[in-house]
């Protein structure tokens, strides 16, 4: 009987009058890779922001690593990592300066930060750019720095939002391997993405959210019992959107009208 690292009970969230999250219930144990997917506007980012303590205006019980997110957000933030998609960076800084800054915010000591940052940047093939300002960095290079900044303090849970965006093929393989090994080491990875093929392959468990409610929760095999096919097709059926072929035909027709 393991202790859930994430527990959400009856979560409701309103943006003024819009009911965005309508009673979310989920529980995640340590060492799992959870794929959290859903169409745009389903409530994915909102759930994520609540889990990491960025939004405290909600109803229901949300606890991460035993801390209630509403009353103790700082404790939560110090033990989790968050890598948003294409997020802002202070790009007039060099990656080393940026990571030193982030590390200090986590209360790490300076020698540790420097050593870790140096090694991690090297592993991501950024050694040659350690002291270059990030204004010159490509999207992929920034994403790499963002990934490191979300992991450098060795968090127990990592929340990733489209972490593979902008990465070249080899780095994609690398990051997928890192995710797998994080889970094997007992960390939990909460992964949100639109790329179904990847989610299908790396997730131990898949949670599908649509219109503020969870409509599927289980391993890929379990989900396939009800709807066969790839995750892409399954997702389309569950979210009521499987007429893309017709729309595509209509698109071509419009071009030639």
């Amino acid at each position: 009987m393991s202790n859930p690292v994430i527990q959400i009970q009856n979560l409701h969230k309103y943006y003024s009058t819009t009911h965005v999250l309508k009673g979310i219930n989920l529980s995640v144990d340590a060492g799992q890779v959870v794929g959290y997917i859903g169409p745009n506007g389903a409530g994915k980012s909102t759930t994520l922001k609540i889990l990491i303590g960025l939004l405290t205006d909600y109803e229901g019980m949300v606890s991460v690593l035993g801390h209630d997110v509403k009353t103790d957000p700082i404790a939560v933030k110090s033990r989790i990592g968050y890598v948003p998609e294409n997020a802002a960076l202070y790009d007039t800084l060099t990656p080393m300066e940026y990571l030193q800054f982030i590390g200090q915010l986590y209360g790490m000591d300076e020698t540790t930060i420097e050593r870790r940052a140096f090694d991690l940047l090297g592993l991501f093939e950024l050694s040659g750019h350690i002291n270059a300002r990030m204004t010159t960095f490509s999207k992929g290079m920034r994403q790499k720095v963002l990934l490191i900044s979300g992991l450098i303090h060795n968090p127990e849970i990592v929340f990733l939002d489209e972490p593979l965006s902008g990465l070249d093929a080899n780095t994609v393989v690398l990051v997928k391997a890192i995710i797998r090994q994080l889970a094997d080491a007992g960390k939990t990875v909460f992964y949100s993405s639109h790329i179904m093929d990847v989610v299908e392959k790396i997730s131990d468990r898949i949670i599908i959210i649509n219109n503020g409610q969870i409509i599927a929760d289980g391993t890929f095999a379990e989900l396939q019992h009800q709807h066969s096919g790839s995750l892409e097709q399954l997702f389309g059926q569950l979210t009521g959107s499987d007429d893309q072929q017709d729309t595509a035909t209509e698109f071509i027709n419009t071009l030639t009208k």
């Binding site: 960025l54 404790a75 933030k77 110090s78 997020a87 802002a88 800084l93 800054f101 200090q104 915010l105």
Partner: protein, 553 residues
């Protein structure tokens, strides 16, 4: 600069703890922000504020040096001359300038920083409380402002110390710093009020307009105030009035005055009290009350706002712009450039900030001058020509700025679309500027001139219009030709002295010729068709610009 500020910050650690912030995180955040300040480009200083990319990061020191230079004028003129008894008004003016300058800096260089949500995205997911973040921002801004305040008041400080001794000097220094604190507080309140009354999307636009207005007011007052005051104000002691207590610069002035003269009477003590209490009171209010509200508002601002879906079919209505574009342009490419330029110049905040103040200021200046506010020139016979040609100058600036944009990378479309004659784009956008910026302004000025100087000036009005067109097109042809909104801001800002030279030369030639023509009977009317002809010829040459003549970066 940075080590000094950080030293202060660390010394004040107990204070941060009392205020409920994490000192370690606070120091780290202030450190990073100061580092970034040294690498930023400073919008308010234009060409002199460009950031260097090398290792040497003394950008901020250069900025400070420039500010110290500005302070030179007020310092000397206000404070070196008046006798001891009449210090109050000059001091008030000095502090007023200081405060306005702080407010302007806060509005321009910091508008983007204060409203920037990058901090929220980068820092709040880490274990840092909202209060720590807010306090770090305040400390950072205060540090920045203090440095600027010091630079601005440096000369004044020296003058006061020399004339009235070190005590007065110290008081002046303290008052200067307190002024800046007060301005941080007032600006914060101002932003909150704005957020209250405008919707989130419009907030940035409103602030932009305020920046424009402030720019006009500031530069205008810099010109007008010295002229409006006469010598008496500077040299006589002033009579006390009750409403003095309401004016912040007067509090500061009173405190310094008290020590400089010295005189310790009731009014002076009261002013000093206000000067010390209110800034700190403001800080307290900011930390306690405004801070959380402000952050909540900001967070609300950055909510992933779902794009408002407006029910529209394909646009059938022809707006003014579309009718004009059909009238003035001859082919689809030109029309496209016309519409594009028309719309973007109406919406691009930076473009507006660079061009509209000049417009407002020019108009105000012209009217003020012709009322005789500036002595002889306003009443001379050549004056109205100056007013008419001002538009030409303005359009030349606007046209030059046209190539700059934050979204310059979007200009890739010029490369991928099948365009064989880029000159059409240039001509379309030039027409848009003429139609949108030049003509309305010109008509305004022309109506004013006709009203004030008589309808017989109509020939000059027509000729000046045509000549202004010539000026604009020649300036455009004399510089590197760039497609609209295709170059990064920094690159455009770098001075182009050759162009400036050519522009002045042409301006001088044309204006001089015009003036000469006014002396010949019917001279002006005869010149009109020639002028129009020259413009037509130049414009068609401009329109034939080929790709080899276009500069792409």
């Amino acid at each position: 600069m940075k080590p000094i500020v950080l030293w202060f910050v660390i010394r004040l650690n107990p204070l941060w703890r009392i205020l409920g912030a994490d000192p370690v995180a606070l120091r780290a955040i202030v450190d990073v922000k100061l580092t970034m300040d040294n690498r930023r480009s400073y919008a308010s200083l234009g060409r002199y504020g460009q950031a260097k990319t090398g290792d040497k990061n003394n950008q901020f020191l250069i900025v400070l040096a420039i500010y110290a230079f500005f302070g030179l004028f007020t310092g000397l003129s206000m404070l070196a001359i008046p006798p001891k008894e009449a210090l109050f008004i000059p001091l008030t003016i000095t502090f007023a300038y200081l405060m306005v300058f702080c407010a302007m800096t806060l509005l321009s260089d910091f508008s983007s920083l204060i409203l920037d949500s990058a901090d929220n995205q980068i820092i709040l997911p880490r274990p840092v409380s909202g209060r720590t973040l807010l306090l770090s921002r305040i400390v950072h801004i205060a540090g920045y402002l203090f440095s600027i305040t010091l630079a601005l008041s440096l000369v004044g400080l020296i003058v006061i110390t020399i004339r009235f001794g070190p005590v007065a000097g110290i008081m002046f220094l303290i008052m200067s710093l307190l002024s800046s604190i007060l301005m941080v507080f007032l600006t914060n309140v101002f932003y909150l009020l704005l957020m209250q009354f405008t919707s989130e999307e419009r907030l940035r636009e409103v602030i932009n307009y305020f920046q424009i207005v402030m720019a006009i007011v500031f530069y205008g007052s810099y010109q007008l105030v010295p002229r409006l005051m006469n010598q008496d104000m500077l040299t006589e002691a002033v009579e006390w009035q009750n409403w003095f207590y309401l004016v912040p610069p007067m509090w500061m002035a009173g405190a310094v005055d008290m020590v400089a003269q010295p005189v310790f009477d009731g009014p002076h003590l009261l002013l000093t009290g206000l000067a010390i209490l209110l800034p700190f009171g403001g800080l307290w209010v900011m930390n306690r009350v405004l801070g959380p509200v402000f952050n909540a508002r900001l967070a609300g601002l950055e909510q992933d706002s779902t794009p408002v879906s407006v029910k529209t079919g394909p646009e059938q209505t022809s707006s003014i712009m579309q009718r004009l574009s059909r009238l003035l342009t001859n082919n689809p490419l030109e029309r496209a450039a016309f519409g594009f330029t028309w719309r973007v110049t109406a919406r691009d905040r930076k473009f507006k900030l660079k061009t509209y103040p000049q417009l407002g200021f020019g108009l105000a200046y012209i009217i003020a001058m012709s009322m005789g506010g500036f002595g002889a020139f306003g009443k001379s016979s050549g004056f109205y020509l100056f007013a008419l040609y001002y538009t030409g100058l303005f359009v030349m600036t606007a046209q030059y700025q046209l190539s700059a944009s934050d979204d310059f990378k979007a200009a890739w479309v010029y490369g991928s679309a099948p365009i064989s004659r880029p000159g059409e784009i240039l001509s379309g956008s030039m027409k848009a500027i003429i139609a949108k910026l030049m003509i309305p302004f010109y008509v305004l000025v022309a109506v004013y001139i006709a009203w004030r100087f008589g309808l017989d000036k109509i020939d000059d009005i027509v000729l000046a219009f045509s000549n202004s067109l010539i000026m604009s097109i020649s300036a455009a042809m004399a510089t590197e030709r760039k497609l609209p909104f295709s170059i990064a801001q920094d690159v455009v800002n770098r001075s182009n002295t050759a162009r400036g030279f050519v522009v002045l030369l042409i301006l001088g030639l044309i204006a001089g010729a015009h003036y000469g023509l006014t002396l010949i009977r019917y001279g002006v009317w005869v010149a009109v068709p020639f002028s129009i002809g020259i413009f037509w010829y130049l414009f068609s040459r401009y329109r034939q610009t080929s790709w080899s003549q276009i500069v792409l970066e």
